[in-house]
């Protein structure tokens, strides 16, 4: 089997990395299953692509995409905290609404960025060999996001956001308005997701209305793979695990494609990976006596 797919998988893992961190932030840190992600990823891609086609600086276009993504997160937050809509439904409502908005932003079902200057071509123009440009961009973005997120989650505000997901009653009894912390967490997570969308659009040279479908499952799969392989004993390790998980997920996908799986079956495969990962603690506890190699039979809470 040729390993020629590896660099590509690595690039993808890195460029999708911020999205995975966003999913980690909502699902794990905030304990808020946020489905805005699907629409928000496309929103980031659509916004960046449209702005780039309008001759805006690609970096500026990416930045605007990030801000618009944060706004989408705030809408989900508003639906949940002010209108008391359950988290899952609040996210779905925003996601569905975003479908129409994304079409409006793009003005078409897809936009091509072929032969147009993007952040990636800019890096190439700065003198970097073409085959490294996307990888370098991915590494730079992931390191920056990782660093900022790590610092932020240790600030007073960051601690309050983490405590909101861990023990809402406790943090409220300490005088924190958990509506605010949820809004900030959701804005941040969706900003990261839109960042990935914007970068991926520039990487693939197109934005498409369907490119975000199933993104939440891709994010979850990556988070779970990272947790299983790297673990999360400390905050830093948990954040790094999310990025590594993203890369490994892409390698796995590329490998099975290489082995001949039609690409149309990818979503089914991803759903299966997540199902098995989510079911693992249950399976282990139920069958640990007959299958001792599965380890200690104890259903642990997913979040530590």
């Amino acid at each position: 089997m040729s390993l020629a797919f590896l660099p590509g998988a690595l690039e993808q893992g890195l460029l999708w990395g911020p999205m995975v961190l966003g999913v980690y932030l909502t699902f794990r840190v905030l304990d808020f299953p946020d489905l805005t992600v699907d629409g928000c990823f496309t929103l980031g891609a659509a916004t960046a692509a449209r702005l780039i086609l309008m001759d805006q600086d690609p970096l500026l276009a990416t930045l605007v995409a990030v801000l618009v993504g944060a706004l989408a997160g705030l809408i989900t937050g508003f639906l949940h905290t002010q209108l008391k809509i359950a988290p899952l439904l609040a996210g779905i409502l925003t996601m569905i609404g975003l479908y129409s908005i994304n079409l409006r932003v793009m003005g078409a079902a897809n936009l091509s960025l072929l032969r147009i200057d993007t952040t990636i071509t800019k890096i190439e123009n700065a003198g970097l060999p073409e085959q490294f440009a996307a990888g370098v961009l991915g590494i730079a973005v992931c390191l920056l996001v990782l660093f900022l997120l790590y610092i932020f989650l240790q600030t007073e505000l960051g601690l309050a956001i983490r405590a909101t997901g861990d023990n809402e009653q406790m943090i409220r009894s300490l005088g924190v308005n958990t509506n605010t912390t949820k809004m900030i967490g959701l804005a941040l997570a969706n900003a990261l997701c839109a960042l990935s969308g914007a970068l991926v659009a520039q990487y693939q040279s197109y934005a498409d209305i369907g490119m975000g479908i199933g993104m939440i499952i891709v994010g979850l799969a990556s988070v779970i793979i990272g947790e299983t392989l790297i673990g999360n004993p400390t905050l830093l390790r948990a954040l790094i695990a999310a990025i590594i998980g993203s890369i490994i997920y892409r390698v796995v996908i590329a490998t099975v494609l290489q082995m001949g799986l039609p690409s149309t079956d990818l979503k089914l495969l991803t759903a299966l990976i997540v199902t098995v990962a989510l079911a693992f603690p249950v399976i282990r506890s139920r069958y640990s006596s007959s299958l001792p190699f599965l380890g200690k039979g104890e259903v642990r809470a997913r979040r530590q």
């Binding site: 007073e156 505000l157 983490r162 009894s173 005088g175 924190v176 308005n177 530590q304």
Partner: protein, 265 residues
């Protein structure tokens, strides 16, 4: 310090499950008062603490802290001046966060949270100093996740968290009831020590009659949403648990029934 004036709290109003938990209850606390609260199951003890803390709104009456009406303020606003410890050790701490991170949040109780690092060098110093009071060695485990601590250790930490930011009022709801007797004793001693040191005005619900008479300077007994006995001063000093039970029976016409009641230990 604390004025509860004529407060009524009704759960499930207008519904078949309607329950009057507090019936026109009034209570006045002077600064530095440490009041123990006893009463049968369902007497409204927890409800009293919850309405003071703002967990749910009241139906009638008013609540003042240092003369300021607080009963319309949401819980997170009132939390600025109220420290709480719950019965369940899991409720007072965030398990996935470290000891120092929990303390950092407690230290900033009621303040605007900013982008400052939660656990700087100076703060760690303070945390260590406070944790030393416990004598549990937690001062050397600042970066341990709280989820790894025992129930007693967590509850002791919660007491430190509830008092580290000098609250105006401390609310304790059977905070040693879920602990084994020895740990319960340690946590109670620590609580008394901190209360004395910081001169905290305190409401402490307990099911232990002997403790109720020994801790603090005043004991109130609740029954069916009312205060039926209020004992302080010289009368309280010479009182025995049996006297207290007798007084309860006289005042309520019922025998005292609390499934967690301990007459002595």
């Amino acid at each position: 310090m604390l004025d509860v004036n004529n407060v009524t709290k009704i759960f499930n109003r207008g519904n078949i499950n309607e329950k009057v938990a507090l019936t026109g209850l009034s209570l006045h606390l002077d600064p530095g008062d440490v009041v123990t609260i006893i009463g049968s199951n369902g007497a409204g003890k927890s409800t009293l603490l919850n309405v003071v803390a703002g967990v749910f709104p009241i139906d009638k009456g008013e609540i003042l802290i240092e003369g300021r009406a607080v009963h319309k303020e949401p819980e997170h606003v009132r939390a600025a001046y109220i420290g709480r410890v719950f019965q369940d050790p899991n409720l007072g701490t965030a398990a996935s966060m470290t000891i120092e991170e929990n303390l950092a949040l407690a230290l900033r109780r009621g303040n605007r949270l900013g982008l400052r690092r939660g656990t700087g060098k100076k703060r760690r110093e303070l945390f260590r100093e406070r944790l030393k009071l416990l004598g549990l060695g937690l001062e050397d485990r600042l970066t341990t996740k709280v989820g790894l601590l025992s129930g007693g250790q967590r509850q002791a930490l919660t007491v430190i968290m509830a008092t580290i930011a000098a609250p105006k009022l401390l609310l304790l709801d059977e905070h040693t009831a879920a602990l084994d007797p020895k740990t319960a004793q340690t946590v109670l001693e620590l609580t008394e020590q901190v209360i004395a040191q910081e001169q905290l005005t305190t409401l402490m619900v307990t099911h232990n009659m002997e403790q109720a008479l020994r801790v603090g300077n005043r004991t109130i007994m609740m029954h069916e949403g009312r205060i039926i006995l209020d004992i302080k001063g010289a009368k309280r000093q010479n009182m025995k648990v049996s006297d207290l039970l007798q007084m309860f029976e006289k005042a309520s016409g019922k025998t005292f029934a609390n499934d967690r009641m301990l007459l002595s230990n």
